[in-house]
Symmetry: D3
């Protein structure tokens, strides 16, 4: 039910830019499985390449936020944006990176609470306290 | 510019339920400062009490997600919900809990990237891969 | 800080279609005050006319939902859409139609709770129970 | 297709906190049916208890907004948040509380109109009229 | 799985207002096919009529934005609102109006990028530059 | 009121990666003015570089969607995401690229209408017609 064709491995083989990205996804993830998101995006090979490189830059590498926390932040944004696919793919990714069911339950609770107070604050249009402002 | 009056300490004094919550906020945070959100919510004392108790249960205590990560998740939800007040208050809270500027820069980048792929996926209506589904 | 000019009464006078709508707004509301929304929309007189007529059809007249409830529903949608202007204008309208502070406090609490459970449900991607489905 | 297991009655039996909530849901609603939302949330028994108690406090009891109006407000928030499950469950609940098809048609029309003017106002960034502001 | 019955042609025949709109949809589109949106909305015949007339006024006629561009703008709004049905129906409509796969790929990329920078800007709460403001 | 410092030209001078991006922004736009978004993002020089390069790739170059249409699509996404800054900056950009007031009025009307039907469709949970589905 996508609005684009999801390209098969045979179709990817014929598009060098897409083939190179798929090879890199497989090598980076040490798995032959490439999920539907990339198969849809492959209809636009330069976008596929740009998006994958950006994802590697932001989500990969040695950084000050650990890989599991990154996935939990991704889930939080995807929940507020009601992105079904993203919730399934990043919840699976978080579990693959070691998220326990206890951590997931807490994540769900924090997202729910944030949704709650976001709605309270927005409805009442609470003005930002001077104490929270950054000098600029 | 709120749609409700923000109650002053003098007004809070006269509402026992609200006074008890404000006392607990001050004791929990070891600070005399109580931010506008609670001053607006205090127009409905039972809601004030319910919300504060829920916040303590979810954000406080010894849990499997550390306090700083919790604030970063809160920021992620608030960004996707475009909640100006929440972004200011929880960014200040995250910094108070030790978030470095490097961590904040990464958080911003992850939220941006998630917003990006959320929009790509939703536009193309990518179907969820069987591999991501949980048995239920 | 609008992206369009907000037309003054003197400017409205020169646009017959807009003038007729403004006259009708004033007559319907029994007040000389015309708020900024209509002054911005007046840059596109046919859109001004279409929107006002639609508003009268939906919000006015004798219907099965009373006028105050309609305003509360409007506030609920505007909160979830983070529409600052709409929240201020429809909260003022609801108060003008008799909303008590007790009712407003309850409205805020329901919106907050709905935001909470919306986020919980979406994060966990709960499937719709067969019992809730309508035959079609 | 949830990201969590939906707990069966047999599984709930083994979790005292969850069992007590399920018993209370059944008693409050005078029905044996417990919908999927609670079965998913039951993976986190304290969250299940907190959420149910909050729901009872906000949606139940003798209050200044009648039970059917509360459900309609819930639907309005859920529509703007694109929460499929919530729309189905609260539309069913509103009908169970007596919502007529005429009232539902009006509710849909108000939500549509609010979505319309929310988008117009936000696009044009209309500034809030001084007349709408509350002294604080 | 709609919350309303989708009316069949036989049912539409019995509702004169709805019948007239369906006839006009068929004549305007030079096709016998009437999609589910109108079949759901037909439960409220005046809303059906209002919505169709508004759609004709905004999307049809000789105007300064061409019909294909209008559909692409519609897709952009629907993506950000996570409206599955709207994405499918307007992507089909855009293709019927000549959108090439190259144009669609670019549209998807722009929507993704806008989602990205929207999230960056909102997270950091960047203040509007004086240079962007319109005199009003 | 940003959550980050907006870097001045003097501060940018001391960060080679940021300086190179600012030089390229000025050269590409043939203007000395660099707006606040880039000054906030410059706190994370690699993100600044990534985002600018992506923007150039998507919004610039010879492509199948003209530059003005691209800005209008950007405005549409930003409206649905309630991104105040983005609405001001891209409306200014669209005008700089020749958007007439007539075109802007039509754009506003389309965004409003899409918001309307998005809300109607989502509230009623209309199922996608088979006719709109793409083979995949």
């Amino acid at each position: 039910m996508a609005t684009v064709k999801l390209l098969s491995d045979a179709e990817i083989e014929k598009i060098p830019v897409a083939k190179a990205v798929f090879d890199d996804i497989r090598a980076s993830r040490k798995s032959d499985f490439v999920n539907n998101f990339w198969r849809g995006l492959a209809n636009d090979p330069p976008a596929l390449k740009r998006t994958w490189e950006q994802l590697k830059a932001v989500m990969g590498g040695k950084t000050s936020i650990d890989p599991l926390t990154k996935e939990m932040i991704y889930i939080a944004v995807s929940a507020a944006n009601a992105c079904t696919y993203c919730l399934h793919s990043h919840t699976a990714a978080a579990r693959a990176k070691g998220m326990t069911e206890e951590q997931y339950a807490e994540l769900v609770a924090i997202i729910g609470l944030a949704g709650h107070t976001n709605h309270l604050v927005t409805t009442m249009q609470i003005p930002v306290d001077r104490e929270f402002m950054v000098e600029s």
